[in-house]
Symmetry: C2
Subunit: 200 residues, 2 copies
DNA sequence: ACCTGAACACCGTTCAAGT
DNA sequence: ACCTGAACACCGTTCAAGT
């Protein structure tokens, strides 16, 4: 599918965005392993050296991809959060949103996660991660204020809830859980998380 | 550091094992990204084509690495499990063992996890994963039998506990949690998991 | 049975030169 | 300011040939 029918302009217009879009598609369809800058350049119809103008590195492109992912996930979680809801359904809604993202963007999530906060963690990235984590923290903090959650260091509570959520998302993204099983399990997961595994 | 001082024998002896050992060291020191078959061959002192005799693929080597990882983790968990203990300390011990492994083998764990059960999941791999998961399942099943854990589908309970454990391990391996913070948080994590986030 | 050497088709990255 | 083309130093994989 050559983009060359007429006379493709020398300047692409928005090469950076095109590269990111193509990269995300490849990521989704073929995985990180099959992501090559040269191939991307070919798909977008530019020389193999052109990407270098917009991303100093292959890693830089991956970071940009991860950053965009955190942005989307952050917005998604904020949209899914309804502060009016009681704790249990509120948390379940958040969990469902996160799980949905994990299922729909498994490869991207892996990438986002791998970019942890390595040496190259830009402020932007840190901010995007904070935003994502913030949604959960808000739910817990609100609930704690309302007495719906035990007293104690909020960090500890965030850790338990965050770990459980991240764990299922990872299972779902990794294919150890079918998407259906994951989504079906959300309610009981949240229930057990709130009520504990021990009998009351 | 040439291994060639005298006359290195034409046959290496145990090339497969040497390659795996070198690979694990590189993995630990420089990450998966810097793992190349050719470099491995150089380190071990054989031609770049030699690894091909023992691993049909680079992926095959990675799978072997992951398999060995699951084996070690499985044994580690079994060793850490003490059926005499009451539920809470028993689970905490398991969690500590898993976390320790995650901290000491962060890159390997990522690899193990990425090898999920993709198309190429050998029976060996599946068995190794089952073994790892089995330790947790046993704890939950025992506790349920003793009435220390709520009734209900054991799968659901395993999922919550497994997700929480995997979550912290992933946080620790990914560097979002310092090793100290992770280990320090184990007890309260297990406590919250068992007693629930809601007040009783 | 196990390993080598050469060959092939790819990479990422850099840099002068073009538009 | 943005892109190209050639060049460099790497890859993984294959396959005849050597031991």
């Amino acid at each position: 599918m050559p983009h060359l029918s007429k006379s493709r302009p020398y300047h692409h217009g928005d090469l950076r965005a095109s590269l990111l879009a193509a990269a995300e598609q490849t990521l989704r369809e073929k995985g990180v392993g099959s992501l090559s800058l040269r191939e991307l350049a070919r798909e977008v119809g530019v020389s193999h050296a052109a990407p270098g103008r917009h991303f100093k590195d292959k890693q830089a492109l991956l970071n940009a991809l991860a950053l965009a992912g955190y942005d989307r996930l952050g917005r998604l979680l904020e949209a899914a959060d309804d502060a009016e809801l009681p704790l249990e359904p509120r948390l379940a809604a958040l969990a469902r949103a996160y799980l949905g993202f994990a299922v729909d963007n498994a490869e991207l999530l892996e990438l986002m996660y791998a970019r942890k906060h390595e040496p190259g963690a830009s402020e932007q990235m840190v901010a995007a991660v904070e935003r994502t984590v913030g949604s959960l923290a808000r739910v817990i903090a609100d609930a704690q204020r309302r007495g719906e959650v035990v007293a104690g260091d909020p960090e500890d509570l965030n850790l338990v809830a965050g770990a459980a959520l991240h764990g299922v998302a990872a299972f779902a993204a990794g294919g150890m859980l079918t998407p259906e099983a994951a989504l079906a399990g959300v309610d009981t997961l949240v229930h057990h998380l709130l009520h504990g595994l021990k009998p009351r």
